[in-house]
Symmetry: C3
Amino acid sequence: MTPNPFLDFMRALLKGFAQVFFMNNALTGLFFVAAIGLASQTSGDWTPFWGGLLGCAASTLAALVIDRAKDPLHSGMYGFNGVLLGIALPTFVQANALMWGLIVLGAVLTTVFVDALSNMLTKTWDVAVSTGPFVLTTWLLLLSVSAFAGLHFNSPATSVLPVPHAAHWADLTPLLAAQVTLRNISQVFLLNNAGSGLLILAGVALASRGAALAALLGALLALVFATVLGADRQAVHNGMYGFSAVLSAMAVAVVFITPSRQSAVVAGLAVLFTVIIQGALNKWLAPYGIPSLTAAYLIAMWLFTLPKMDLLIHPHQPNASSSFARR
Amino acid sequence: MTPNPFLDFMRALLKGFAQVFFMNNALTGLFFVAAIGLASQTSGDWTPFWGGLLGCAASTLAALVIDRAKDPLHSGMYGFNGVLLGIALPTFVQANALMWGLIVLGAVLTTVFVDALSNMLTKTWDVAVSTGPFVLTTWLLLLSVSAFAGLHFNSPATSVLPVPHAAHWADLTPLLAAQVTLRNISQVFLLNNAGSGLLILAGVALASRGAALAALLGALLALVFATVLGADRQAVHNGMYGFSAVLSAMAVAVVFITPSRQSAVVAGLAVLFTVIIQGALNKWLAPYGIPSLTAAYLIAMWLFTLPKMDLLIHPHQPNASSSFARR
Amino acid sequence: MTPNPFLDFMRALLKGFAQVFFMNNALTGLFFVAAIGLASQTSGDWTPFWGGLLGCAASTLAALVIDRAKDPLHSGMYGFNGVLLGIALPTFVQANALMWGLIVLGAVLTTVFVDALSNMLTKTWDVAVSTGPFVLTTWLLLLSVSAFAGLHFNSPATSVLPVPHAAHWADLTPLLAAQVTLRNISQVFLLNNAGSGLLILAGVALASRGAALAALLGALLALVFATVLGADRQAVHNGMYGFSAVLSAMAVAVVFITPSRQSAVVAGLAVLFTVIIQGALNKWLAPYGIPSLTAAYLIAMWLFTLPKMDLLIHPHQPNASSSFARR
């Protein structure tokens, strides 16, 4: 759009942040960067903030150098996996020179993963790669921490299974419900901060009101269903049972399927399933002490977008004015 | 066939049961329902019986509503995964309102899985989805039990590895051998009951004598090989090392490959491999305390039907009079 | 080439060994057999030597009987997975009649796996099956050892996580560095023997100097990066962090991609990633006490050959004079 390569690259970085919530909009990305900054200001730990920026830059530059693909760059499609990896690594691993080096290496690998998985999933079955590269690369990096003396986890992993204190309706004041709903949104960026959730929701609404509504309802439904099932109270209140459900709701209700009454019902089903998968993954990963990241969302999203069912599926045809880039 | 929608649906339900053994025959399904009833009568626990019916109805109705696909409905292709999930859940999880709700939700999900996996496996590589949806959905549900205070396992999971008492030829009287062979068949429905195995075998023979012979020989060979390897005596005698092998034998010898002397030899190889995979999966799942279900069969079946080898593979061309529906 | 079927078969066996390092050359295979013999002579344990020969013969014969495919036989494409399985089994499992029987059964299964995975990976995405059949079959066999009283591990599995003594620059004399580099090569055949590594390197150089150079540089870079990360000293010195990296370097730099300056840089990236995956797999498999085999190489190789990136990928077009057979 602009012939200035620096502004071009800045815009690509912001869109890289925006694409974490499927948005193809630099201003939305700016809201997200602010949301991460707010959480860092609150917690006093700015390593996730700088990690996210570094990861976004490294994965985007790798796409420029390796791919020469200009168009995906402009829509931020090669940045969002790097963003999430760059936030996740300092969240779980102590910051040292090696950790910062692994953010760069890992972010470059997510770009290779995007190309590799696109060739498998998108070309063959027309489903999105989405955060698959982030989850796979980060899992491998976190699994390897115990094997290398140069890396250290921030805190010893603690298992909460079986559940010590289950979430309960009695605890759920309207204020807490609102906070958890917003934390369900902020945890997509691995942030435990209701204010950040509000900024993120505003950024999404800026680009697409339908997507913001889907995120909000998905976050609320996930809270309700996790409470019905009796998930761990602390985990529920921190937004750990909702962030994948938020993405599932958006993906199935508005992003990958043309919005309709049917897609809304199926998105509800996808949210319920995502909460169950979240519980299953917590158990599955417990022996390894690594987090599930957005894997629950990926499983649900792939399951519900693969079928191309007559009734449901009218895959989104993004046009020039669409807020979404196909990913 | 009949214009009566109620009878139509009943027939679809019975075929859903029949398809657990690859049979497209409502009367065979009736034999299978009787076999499950017999086991419930013997054990005094009818929850698997009602769970199987509920799961079959929910997954079949979901196919009607979501898919509008009439033909697969008539052959029971959307019912058998729901049947197995509906039997498995109350077998491992204490019955309460939430458990019954999860049978309905899980059965609906198996229908989505059937469509999703068909698009991956069948369209791309021409292999059957088979019980894949049942295994994946039930694994996720059972893994999540520890994460949710509203769900409880029936009994604490006990690992039998390394093997305390190995199966031994000396124990194997002709009567016991016959009982174990039949239990290898009944355990496909998660039933530990030789009489049920006999009813199931009769139901299969009613639709296809070749398939019944394959099931019987597969069950016997699995018993022999598990004893050669020295598998856990209790597990072998309860039919736990044979049920997947029964399905492998049927799939490779008669269902997915045109029966011949070669397909019989290769089916024998598939049975041996299935017994080994069964042992491997028991070890793999031990940290999680969840059962392998029919995963050993799935791995062996996919391995042996993927190659389309010159010598072996003449994929079955079902015609109007065939007992099998391609699945 | 020769009308003598016995010589033909001998040549196929030797090429089966050679293909472990991607070489389509019987003389190279002879060097490899000598390398395995040297290690057996040194350790006094000849079971891996005979296991490798038996596995090669069984998998190759299975290809003849099942496949009637003459060409892959001549290039050794059906032998190398059997070779590795035949070496791996006696390395980890006590030799008895059952163990030898499982080498034959397992080697036959690798041939079925080659056909099955070719249909999935090569036909659909044009990536090589490579040692996938060896890794999958051997994992299943080793996992099943605890489930069967007739099989016993050679030594109790010991976990070295978290790392007790990290590798350190101070330990790394030039002599040790040379030894570890050669052991990184010999461990591809599961041999802890620098002399064997030298014989293998010579055998590779005989067929392709570029491939030998890639192997050497890959082995060296893996040693450097494992030391930077602080991997377990004993494991690094025994070549456990380098063998998969050697294969990754060869695969990306010269075998599956036309050699160029770009392919060399990307191969370096692949080596770094392989070392990290090696650490991750050590952690992932620790609860099961089974080795990662060449899985780290497979993940990296598939990741880097799937993308078909504009800049990088000019898939190798083997011609009549090429040292490599596409695999």
